[in-house]
């Protein structure tokens, strides 16, 4: 994905993200307000978690991390869960994903494409894409480091065992 394409996406991005959410909701069966992590969402997170955290978990650790991101989302207010459902929908549907993120199907995306997508949204002039980057950043990284097995690598001993059991 070239920088120029991102700029074009920027012109449309805000509108597409706003309208796309509504379209997406029309195309899908009426979902409960609570965010539900579906197979498409899991596929995307399987790519985003290593890309955002810079870690390379094995398959079991990756699945556990995906579950933790889902749990973190389910702890947010229903209104925010709905926004995240829309974001996941847009990043799962091929046309909107290509337009907004410039990546092919998630399993086929190269690390460079994923990094370019993240960096583009991180500094995008469309505020909504910037806030979406921050949302993904915090959810993925928060979900990752919530897990005690990630702590040894960063020199965090965890809380006093006698009081945390």
């Amino acid at each position: 994905m070239q920088r120029r394409s991102f700029l074009k996406a920027g012109l449309l991005g805000g509108l597409a993200l706003a309208a796309g959410g509504a379209v997406y909701r029309q195309l899908r069966p009426a979902a409960a307000e609570r965010f539900a992590l579906d197979a498409e969402g899991r596929t995307m997170l399987a790519v985003l978690i290593p890309a955002v955290t810079g870690e390379t978990p094995d398959a079991a650790a990756l699945q556990a991390a995906i579950d933790r991101v889902g749990t973190a989302i389910n702890g947010l207010p229903l209104r925010v869960q709905k926004e995240i459902s829309d974001l996941f929908g847009l990043l799962s549907m091929a046309p909107t994903r290509r337009l907004l993120a410039g990546v092919p199907a998630w399993p086929e995306a190269t690390p460079e494409q994923v990094a370019a997508f993240l960096q583009s949204w991180r500094t995008h002039r469309t505020e909504m894409l910037q806030t979406a980057y921050h949302g993904l950043h915090d959810l993925v990284i928060g979900g990752w480091y919530a897990e005690p097995s990630t702590w040894a690598a960063i020199g965090y001993p965890g809380p006093m065992k006698e009081l945390s059991a």
């Binding site: 933790r68 928060g142 690598a153 009081l163």
Partner: protein, 535 residues
């Protein structure tokens, strides 16, 4: 295994405290009391105890759940969803500012970092001269601060600062910048460093273990998982408060309604929820002031990496501060800031560090060597720092708009420069302002000075956070500038008071808990006297 620490809340419930979890109610209910107190944080807790001790029948209403030391396991993944508004991710309407605010019995006092400051003299002086709060002098407030300091064990903290706080002291000292030690509301503190996840040893003297038990001992009733929805206002009086019972996880209403009747109502839901409740109720607001001038002490952050271990997760989180840059210019001049240090645990620390991929992972490898320094900018004293505004979404929930002005950004840039200079002076070999365009940490002060001078100061690029929400129901001497009178009464509703941080006509310029305790202790004592006379 359960905690070896005795849990005073469980003991109290076993001894017969009247606590009702609204999530379990199977039908609509009505309650009567002398006074209904909405919210159980700093303002609500203090008010409930003083009124209950005066012999009044008090009903406390809290949207959060009742959690206590048996639940406080020092794990971020559990603590943030259970104890904070929006899982510790409450945000301004544009999502540019993340706000840490409690949502549990005891409110933010359960999760704050115990920093205790009396309201600064220059802030009180400003309120006296600009907002007609003539009784709010240093001498006039001193007995109230003293009373609450005694009640909440607010004292000097004799244990040496942890490494992160000591680096602030040391770096500032090298530059001739004065620092001082922070007093704390703790009793028998173990110096663990987990104040932000609920104190597991009950050492922190939050409302949960002090005033709320004090009120319950005197026969007060505590209603949890109940959201105050709307007052019925008739002829300048509040006749009842309608509440919605929430599900056990606090996510949604169960459909059960609670109708609370009382002689008097006290609103103490914090500076976002209090104005919102009054807006939903259609409270009189002839000058369009309600929900306006909401202050945040917006915070910018600088991360310093040190050769030695800092272990910012260990020890009392905040023990050293500097007010130097609150006094280098006029109160209403360029924006002043207070310097403090943040505790860093993996989730809070890792999400606050900017960037992704190998750059982020590389910084996390040195997590135990990182010190996070904070600059809290003092808003509310300059025309371009008039704060934000609480409004209602279509569903009646509150949202806060808080514009970040060029005036703020000028102060933010100075604050980031100051923090980098102090961190390098303290021996850091790599400093990163938390900003999306800082690709690599700066290696020395010269590099940092040149880079920060031209760093674009913009929302969503520069990380801005807040843990102090104030204002929105300003208390002033003149009806043209504030919706609340100096005795705490809401103007135009004869039996409704506001007792929380939303009263403040400006920000405090210091961590606000002791300001809320002192001001609301004074207001609640006055209210207790007035209600006793009328009885």
């Amino acid at each position: 295994m359960s905690s070896p620490i005795p849990d005073p809340i469980q003991a109290g419930i076993a001894a017969g405290w009247q606590v009702i979890d609204a999530s379990t109610l199977q039908q609509d209910r009505g309650f009567d009391a002398d006074v209904v107190v909405v919210g159980t944080g700093a303002g609500g807790g203090v008010t409930a105890e003083i009124l209950a001790r005066a012999g009044l029948k008090v009903l406390m209403v809290e949207e959060g759940a009742l959690k206590s030391s048996k639940d406080f396991k020092m794990r971020e993944a559990d603590a943030y969803p259970a104890l904070y508004q929006d899982s510790a991710a409450r945000k301004t309407a544009d999502k540019a500012i993340n706000i840490l605010q409690g949502r549990t019995v005891g409110g933010t006092t359960v999760v704050n970092w115990t920093s205790s400051f009396r309201t600064p003299a220059d802030t009180l002086g400003w309120w006296q001269s600009k907002y007609g709060l003539h009784d709010y002098s240093v001498d006039g407030m001193a007995p109230w601060f003293r009373k609450m300091e005694e009640r909440l064990h607010i004292n000097d903290w004799p244990t040496p600062p942890n490494a992160g706080n000591d680096l602030l002291r040391m770096g500032a000292d090298k530059l001739g910048i004065k620092t001082a030690l922070i007093r704390r509301n703790v009793n028998g503190c173990w110096n663990l460093g987990y104040c932000g996840m609920g104190c597991p040893t009950n050492a922190k003297q939050s409302m949960l273990v002090t005033t709320i038990p004090g009120a319950l001992e005197k026969g007060a009733v505590l209603l949890t998982r109940a959201r105050a929805e709307r007052f019925a206002l008739v002829g300048g009086q509040a006749t009842s408060l309608e509440c919605l019972a929430l599900t056990a996880d606090g996510m949604a209403p169960t459909g059960r309604r609670l109708t609370l009747k009382a002689r008097h109502f006290v609103v103490a839901g914090g500076a976002i929820n209090s104005p919102a409740l009054l807006l939903r109720s259609g409270a009189p607001d002839p000058h369009q002031l309600l929900g306006q001038r909401t202050f945040l002490h917006p915070v910018v952050i600088s991360m310093g990496l040190y050769p030695q271990a800092v272990e910012a997760f260990n020890g009392a989180p905040q023990t050293v501060y500097s007010d130097h840059f609150l006094h280098t210019q006029a109160l209403d001049g360029p924006m002043g800031y207070k310097l403090e240090v943040a505790p860093l645990h993996p989730v809070l620390g890792a999400t606050t560090l900017a960037g992704f991929g190998s750059a982020h992972a590389g910084l996390m490898k040195h997590f135990a060597h990182v010190q996070g320094m904070l600059a809290l900018l003092r808003d509310g004293f300059h025309p371009e720092a008039s704060g934000g505004r609480v409004t209602l979404r279509g569903d009646g929930s509150p949202q806060l708009d808080y514009p970040l002005t060029p005036y703020f950004w000028e102060g933010a840039r100075r604050a980031l420069l100051t923090m980098a200079e102090i961190q390098f002076a303290a021996g850091s070999h790599a400093v990163s302002p938390v900003h999306e365009l800082v690709a690599q940490p700066y290696k020395n002060w010269d590099e940092a000075r040149q880079a920060i001078a031209v760093l674009p100061m913009q929302k969503l690029l520069t990380r801005v956070v807040s843990a102090h929400v104030m204002g929105g129901c300003a208390m002033t001497g003149d009806a043209a500038t504030g919706v609340v009178a100096p005795d705490g009464l809401y103007r135009g509703i004869g039996n409704l008071s506001v007792h929380d941080g939303s009263l403040f006509p400006t920000s405090i310029g210091a961590n606000p808990q002791l300001s809320i305790y002192g001001v609301t202790a004074r207001l609640a004592s006055g209210l207790a006297e007035r209600l006793a006379r009328k009885a």
